[in-house]
């Protein structure tokens, strides 16, 4: 039982770390909508 839980936790940590790195370095953050200036609105 202990072993299974430990292994699951390891894989969660691993997936989390990988996901974090991929998001950090390879994910193009969608650019927020550019501001459109004047008072009249977009």
């Amino acid at each position: 039982m202990n072993d299974i839980i430990q292994n699951i936790l390891v894989f969660i940590a691993m997936a989390y770390a990988l996901g974090f790195l991929i998001k950090k370095f390879f994910w193009k953050k969608p650019n927020r909508k550019k501001s459109c200036g004047s008072a009249g609105g977009c």
């Binding site: 430990q6 292994n7 936790l9 390891v10 691993m14 790195l21 501001s35 200036g37 009249g40 977009c42």
Partner: protein, 700 residues
């Protein structure tokens, strides 16, 4: 729902704008980035009387609304865009009492945008000292505004400022001057074409596009028709506008401000005579540098040793208290040492930021920039590059962030590109262990230790490489950018404790949570790759090793070590290591060093830790690792693996190679492109490889 007031703090650099921000928000602030660009965005919440809250943005310091840098452009973008969620209900212009005239320029510009604008006159405590007196009523009347006379140093007038912010609706929005007078026919035409638009805003958009070319405002796109004037003409008009504004300001101040020069005491000129002196200036700067190094290396070694032992015992404690298993190992061998690898740098980073904050707050940094500009320019750098190059000896990450105030993009880019050559703190553990292995512990002419000499030489090599690659980059990079250089030389001030403390805390936090997350994630993955492997050889390691050594009757401890090292050799990381071994053998390394090098790309200091694991040394004691390493045998020559040739080769490799993911990430962020970090990685590492190869082949 209580209404939140949007407040924008605007003002010249060195007016204590950030002090005002700190006074209003305290630690209730956060630093982020504007979307898409690397300009720092500081915002915070301030509680006003009667339960009203103000959302306060500390905009980058700027002398006017005519932007010449990315930082300054943020201010204009915000003030021109009424739809921005941060568009201020009230603009608070922060000025300082000694430079009121110059500070009022941007004030009159913002007034022309018909935004309620409040004037803060900071540093009121220096009025007597400088013999200045102000007629506040007169100024309020003629500038059409409310004035808060405050002193962030003495903490006076802040409540009045909060009161004025809460009652921003009382502030007149009548402009101070009529800017269209500088060219009546031109502005008349503009008005006819866009009857619904604010004339001054149109003018800013037109000049802005000319100056900066980065704005996109669909609505006023048609202003293209009005760019009938040449660049030079527009610039002349802007000059005219500036002159006109100063005329207005001079007239107001003539009656609203009196300066009794005989009352003024001048500390600055006496200090400047020494601190910017051709000889004394450089000497003092040198002494200050030495002090900073001393502090960073000496003073931080005590907390660092403490942190080190804390994390070691934490690892041990985790192993003792948790049930045995994979996750416990991940915690004890991956995550905790990984965290330790971040936390151990906090003292150095904090000390570094402390010194830099003090130097900047006191006004001394501008003097260094002045002293060094000429020398640095020979190498394609700016006087302002001195700051990052000094910071680089601790860590390249904050150093690269410190390049932001360099106006010329080319000079800034070169500074960013060469800073990683400077010997950073993370190289130190690697240098120390290899030097102790391969450099004889004796003295040159019985005086200078060869080991210390080698270390000094490595620092020198780092610095010289940085400077000479700047020289080369300056010759080959074909970037046209404005090369002007204007540095304000602010008054000398005693640094304010609160400001320094907040800077140190904020910067350290951003290092720990920014770079820290990456280091942590990588250490988890490294641990995983070293702890798992495919196939029989890995999964059945215990039996294989036991059968192999069955005749030798090994002690249990030694057998466990053999098993661990066999497992490692067939883990994912071991397989990778042996795959890359042919490429590093010419440099004198085996696969284990190869793995240590590869894992060093997460952070250089990982090298020692990786070797410690690979050589299955239970303790972190440097001496034991050193002994282990000295016993390693090169299977081909039969001699020691770490000899003079391979050691020097390894030292040179670490001196030049770009082995720091976090630095690459920061370069990506600061240059907004993958191109530069990729080039850095490839060129620096290739150079390191070639130099190490030549060194090994010559010395072996």
């Amino acid at each position: 729902m209580s209404k939140q007031i949007n407040v924008a703090l605007i003002g010249n650099p060195n007016t204590g704008k950030t002090s005002v921000f700190n006074a209003l928000t305290g630690l209730n602030q956060k630093v982020g980035n504007y979307p898409g660009i690397t300009v720092e965005k500081k915002e915070g919440i301030c509680k006003l009387p009667r339960g009203v809250k103000a959302h306060i943005i500390d905009l980058p310091g700027t002398y006017s609304l005519n932007a010449s840098s990315l930082d300054e452009n943020v201010v204009i973008e915000l003030l021109l865009n009424r739809n921005d969620k941060d568009f201020p209900d009230v603009a608070v212009v922060v000025s300082d009492v000694e430079n009121l005239k110059r500070n009022l320029l941007i004030f009159t510009q913002i007034k022309d945008l018909e935004i309620p604008t409040l004037l803060v006159i900071n540093m009121a405590d220096r009025m007597d000292y400088k013999g200045i007196s102000l007629d506040i009523d007169y100024l309020e009347e003629h500038l059409n505004t409310k004035i808060a006379l405050i002193s962030t140093r003495k903490n006076t007038g802040i409540d009045n400022l909060k009161h004025l912010i809460a009652n921003y609706k009382d502030i007149s929005v009548t402009p101070c001057i009529n800017a269209s007078e500088i060219d009546k026919t031109y502005f008349e035409n503009l008005r006819k074409a866009f009857p619904n638009q604010l004339i001054y805003k149109l003018w800013l958009v037109i000049t802005q596009d000319v100056n900066f070319g980065k704005t996109d405002r669909k609505q006023i796109e048609a202003v293209d028709d009005f760019k009938t004037k040449s660049k030079a003409d527009l610039k002349r008009l802007q000059q005219k506008e500036t002159i006109k504004r100063y005329q207005f300001i001079n007239n107001v101040l003539k009656l609203g401000q009196t300066i009794d020069v005989s009352q003024a005491k001048d500390l600055r000129s006496r200090l400047d005579r020494v601190l910017t002196h051709k000889i004394w200036g450089y000497l003092i700067f040198f002494v200050i540098l030495l002090t900073i190094f001393q502090a960073i290396y000496d003073w931080s070694s005590i907390p660092q040793d403490f942190i080190d032992s804390m994390f070691t015992s934490l690892s041990q404690w985790t192993k003792d208290i948790l049930p045995q298993g994979a996750f416990t190992n991940l915690l004890a061998e991956g995550i905790i040492p990984g965290l330790g690898g971040i936390v151990i740098f906090i003292p150095q980073i904090a000390f570094l930021f402390l010194f830099i904050a003090v130097l900047e707050e006191s006004g001394y940094m501008s003097r260094v920039v002045f002293l060094m500009d000429r020398v640095m320019r020979r190498f394609g750098l700016s006087g302002k590059s001195v700051v990052p190059l000094i910071s680089g000896t601790a860590c390249a990450i904050p150093a690269i962030m410190a390049t932001r105030n360099i106006e010329s993009w080319k000079e800034r880019l070169i500074t960013i590109l060469v800073t990683p050559f400077i010997t950073c703190a993370a190289r130190l553990p690697v240098y120390l262990i290899i030097i102790s292995l391969v450099i004889p512990d004796s003295r040159f002419m019985g005086l200078l230790s060869y080991q210390a000499l080698t270390l000094m030489l490595l620092y020198l090599i780092g610095f010289l490489t940085a400077v000479s690659s700047a020289y080369i980059l300056n010759k080959i990079l074909k970037i046209k950018s404005k090369t002007y250089f204007v540095v304000e030389m602010p008054n000398y001030k005693l640094p304010m404790f609160k400001n320094v403390a907040i800077t140190v805390i904020e910067k350290t936090k951003s290092f720990v949570f920014g770079a820290g997350k990456i280091i942590l994630a990588i250490s988890i993955i490294l641990w995983f790759l070293a702890s798992y492997g495919p196939g029989e050889q890995f999964n059945n390691a215990e039996n294989i090793v036991k059968t192999e050594y069955i005749s030798q009757n090994l002690s249990n401890e030694l057998l466990q070590q053999k098993i661990a090292s066999h497992k490692l050799e067939h883990s994912f990381i071991g397989i990778t290591g042996r795959a890359i071994e042919p490429s590093i053998r010419p440099l004198g390394y085996d696969w284990k060093i190869g793995i240590a090098i590869v894992s060093s790309f997460a952070a250089r200091e990982v090298f020692v830790g990786t070797l410690a694991t690979i050589y299955s040394v239970g303790s972190d004691d440097v001496d034991t690792i050193t002994n282990r390493m000295s016993k390693e045998i090169n299977p081909i020559t039969g001699g020691p693996l770490f000899n003079f040739a391979s050691g020097i080769s390894l030292l040179l490799f670490y001196a030049f190679a770009m082995q720091c993911m976090s630095t690459l990430a920061v370069v990506k962020r600061e240059t907004n492109s993958w191109k530069w970090p990729t080039l850095q990685l490839v060129i620096m590492t290739a150079f390191a490889y070639i130099v190490a190869l030549i060194a090994f082949q010559l010395l072996k």
